[in-house]
């Protein structure tokens, strides 16, 4: 039976501006085929949640520029056999 474990990861701020109101936070070095959950609160206090399956390279989060990248909680769902 497979079991998922959640592991806290860190995001690295890229600082690339996409428009005046958004910026990109980049998750570097995601492992291929693994799923990552993220969550954060925006400037208006709304909670955001989502999950992405990575392949190779990086995962970019284009979010409101009021959100500091270090405030985004990212967890990797480890699949253990």
């Amino acid at each position: 039976m497979k079991k998922l474990k959640l592991v806290l990861l860190a995001l690295i701020l890229v600082g690339a501006c996409t428009s005046s109101s958004t910026h990109i936070c980049r998750l570097t070095g995601p492992l291929p085929g693994e799923m990552y959950d993220y969550s954060f609160k925006d400037g208006d206090g709304n909670s955001h949640f989502g999950s992405v399956e990575s392949t190779v390279g990086e995962v970019d989060l284009e979010i409101d520029s009021s959100v500091d990248c270090s405030e985004i909680k990212v967890t990797r769902e480890l699949i253990a056999d």
Binding site: H48, S54, D64
Partner: protein, 325 residues
């Protein structure tokens, strides 16, 4: 006080020595850290490829040169079943007949295999056409489908949902996304069309190359020569129409083609348990949901718009055009 310069010189020497030692330690640490990261990446890649073999590798039978029409038809049927089990989308009889006929021609040498770059073009042309014909309701459906799995009993802590695209998450309101897609649709008939097409092709090519590269490494028998891992570019041998359709499905659904049906079910159940544990609230179960496609439990996408009969026939037209001798 007269010995001060000597003390300073010694101190500088000590600091330089310490600095050198620190730099050496830091250098070794970074090297070790990168090596560990490299090992983790290599192990994860091997596991990823093994999961692809367990998924599409086990559940879709790819036909080979010399196979009889019955075997080619069985290959197309296995792909249809694979797509249905994971996303709830069925290929129509017309599309399956046409795909089987094109696959037979490709395998017996009556037509070329499609190159990876030509597949980029075929998918871009199909997506471009589809974009120009989107209704306002369909644009709303795209927005809704890309915001992840939804259920009335989803815990409140899962809050606002962002658009999930391959390798990218975009936090954007529905109003803004819809108005941007409508603007793109309306600009297709203007001088901006070429710019939109070029941007679309870049986005499509990035995902297609990622998928073809993974498939070539995971299933070297079926996808041999489609990708050159050493040069990290398309290889000398193209894709058969069935292989092209596999890549198209993977791109449109964001399904990485991993895990057999039973293992996919176990994975979704494990996701439910993990999220229930994290939020301390019951997370809805995967029963009666598909893993991919519209409101997919793992990844949701508007696959019904991309994989309907009309759009798939246009895609087959594009592939046929580029494979003809």
């Amino acid at each position: 006080m007269k010995n001060l310069p000597l003390v300073l010189r010694r101190l500088r020497f000590v600091l330089l020595t310490l600095g050198f030692v620190a730099a050496t330690v830091a250098g070794v640490s970074i090297w070790k850290s990168r090596a560990v990261q490299g090992d983790a990446q290599a192990a994860a890649k091997a596991k990823f490829h093994s999961r692809i073999r367990d998924g599409i590798g086990q559940e879709v039978r790819f036909a080979s040169t010399g196979d009889q029409p019955g075997a080619v038809r069985a290959s197309v049927e296995s792909l249809d079943n694979f797509i249905f089990r994971r996303s709830g989308i069925r290929l129509s009889g017309t599309v399956k007949n046409r795909l089987a006929e094109m696959e037979s021609r490709s395998l017996n040498g009556q037509s070329h295999r499609i190159s990876v770059n030509d597949l980029d073009d075929a998918l871009t042309a199909t997506a471009f056409e589809r974009l120009s014909a989107l209704s306002d309701d369909e644009i709303l459906h795209i927005d809704d489908s890309l915001r992840g799995f939804k259920s009335p009993d989803l815990p409140k802590s899962y809050g606002r949902r962002d658009l999930i695209l391959p390798g990218r998450v975009v936090s954007i309101s529905t109003d803004r996304f819809v108005s941007q897609v409508k603007a793109m649709r309306d600009q297709i008939t203007t001088s901006l069309a070429d710019m939109i097409r070029t941007s679309m092709r870049q986005a499509v090519a990035r995902i297609v190359h990622d998928r073809v590269s993974a498939m070539t490494e995971a299933l070297p028998d079926a996808f041999a020569g489609a990708w050159d891992p050493a040069g990290n570019h398309p290889g000398p041998i193209g894709l058969t129409p069935v292989e092209g359709m596999v890549i198209a499905y993977s791109v449109a659904s964001q399904d990485l083609l991993c895990d057999s049906g039973p293992n996919l079910d176990k994975l979704m159940k494990a996701m439910q348990n993990a999220r229930t544990e994290t939020t301390k609230q019951p997370y809805p179960g995967p029963e009666e949901h598909f893993a991919y496609g519209v409101n997919g439990y793992i990844t949701s996408s508007p696959l019904d718009l991309a994989f309907n009969e009309r759009t798939l026939n246009r895609l087959l037209d594009q592939i046929d055009e580029r494979s003809s001798k």
